[in-house]
């Protein structure tokens, strides 16, 4: 399997929850084809989220594998009425990424949490230098990486994974208002950081 069948730029759609529950039950009954179907439906999204939150392809693969392993393990006890598979996987992935980022910060002696970090000034030469990338996506990902962790999670889930605010609230274990605030602040910071590059990146031309 290679990627998803999502057309470029289109909003992502989570797989149908009832189908996922049926596939999970079939897997728990020993059907290997159901596992393959679940992998095809969810692994690209889980991997994409992990890569955007971690900014590291190898670590993202490990997180995606771990998230799917937890799905296999919970399959016999899965109750469709309690959660959607996609939302559950997002939550597991976000938590695994949070743990990795925390260990990463601890390893380099950084601050304990992303939210506690002072927001860097928009025009810092160092931060701006990281934004110098060859294309729009690289610039966006570099800017995302500079956001506080919770803001980055909310923005990625909303604008790149296509989740609704209530879904994001469930994934991030917080309230809808908090999600709205995180997205708004994250978006403002992204815009401020990318503004100096707006003309270089050419996305000014795409404005309506």
């Amino acid at each position: 399997m290679h990627g998803t069948d999502i057309p470029p730029g289109a909003p992502l759609r989570a797989p149908d929850g009832a189908q996922d529950a049926a596939l999970l039950a079939a897997y728990a009954g020993g059907d290997g084809r159901a596992a393959r179907a679940l992998v095809a439906r969810h692994l690209p999204r889980v991997l994409g989220l992990a890569r955007r939150l971690l900014g590291d392809a190898a670590e993202a693969e490990d997180v995606a594998q771990e998230a799917m392993l937890r799905l296999w393990r919970i399959a016999p006890q899965w109750r469709a009425e309690q959660a959607r598979v996609s939302t559950w996987l997002y939550r597991v992935t976000v938590n695994l990424c949070t743990d990795r980022l925390r260990r990463r910060r601890t390893a380099v002696g950084g601050a304990a949490t992303g939210e506690a970090l002072p927001e860097p000034a928009d025009e810092r030469p160092g931060a701006l230098a990281t934004l110098i990338a060859s294309d729009r996506v690289a610039a966006l990902e570099a800017a995302l990486a500079l956001l506080p962790e919770r803001q980055r999670q909310a923005v990625v889930l909303r604008h790149l994974e296509g989740l609704s605010n209530p879904e994001i609230a469930e994934v991030m274990d917080t309230g809808v208002e908090a999600v709205e605030s995180l997205i708004a602040r994250g978006r403002r910071m992204l815009a401020a950081r990318l503004a100096p590059r707006r003309e270089d990146l050419g996305y000014d031309d795409d404005r309506p």
């Binding site: 679940l38 729009r136 610039a139 966006l140 609704s164």
Partner: protein, 174 residues
């Protein structure tokens, strides 16, 4: 789970004000595809973790078939897990988790052992009955009688089977 509009930014003004939507669309178009190696790892995890029941469960076999052979991976149902090599990244504590693939010795041998014990006990009691059992037998059935049938060639040819017609030497000595 219903409201899905990725470009709607709560707390923002009209969309496109900050010019980010084009960047988000470009990033969504570059959703990374899982590598074949990652897919294999994930499927290997699934195969190692799947509960062994349902179509994969071994049909219940009788005592003798269990004694005579161990179940083989012969007739696997359609859709069952193929036999796979070990995962590329084996994880601690996962090997054999939830598996029931072989005959558990405790499921068959205790039954065979019980049967053998009963057989030996029956032979022993039959060959060397204890005294209380003999006393009980005599009380219920009367004293033992030893019949000497003699040579069938000596039997009277007109014997009807009536004990009154028995020859005198057939009767027990008083």
């Amino acid at each position: 789970m219903t409201d899905r509009e990725p470009t709607a930014a709560p707390g923002q003004g009209p969309q496109g004000d900050d010019g980010l939507d084009a960047l988000f669309a470009a990033a969504r178009a570059q959703t990374p595809a899982p590598s074949a190696a990652l897919v294999e790892r994930v499927l290997a995890d699934a195969a190692a973790t799947v509960p062994r029941r349902g179509p994969l469960a071994r049909p219940r076999s009788g005592l003798w078939s269990g004694l005579l052979r161990r179940p083989a991976e012969g007739s696997r149902p359609a859709g069952a897990w193929p036999l796979r090599p070990a995962p590329l990244r084996p994880r601690e504590g996962r090997a054999g988790e939830g598996r029931r693939t072989g005959t558990r010795p405790g499921a068959v041998w205790p039954g065979a052992a019980g049967l053998a014990a009963a057989l030996v006990a029956g032979l022993w009691v039959g060959a060397m009955p204890p005294a209380p059992l003999l006393a009980l037998e005599e009380a219920l059935l009367g004293p033992s009688v030893l019949l000497a049938a003699g040579d069938p060639a000596d039997w009277p040819s007109d014997w009807t089977g009536d004990p009154a017609d028995w020859p005198a030497d057939w009767l027990p000595a008083e």
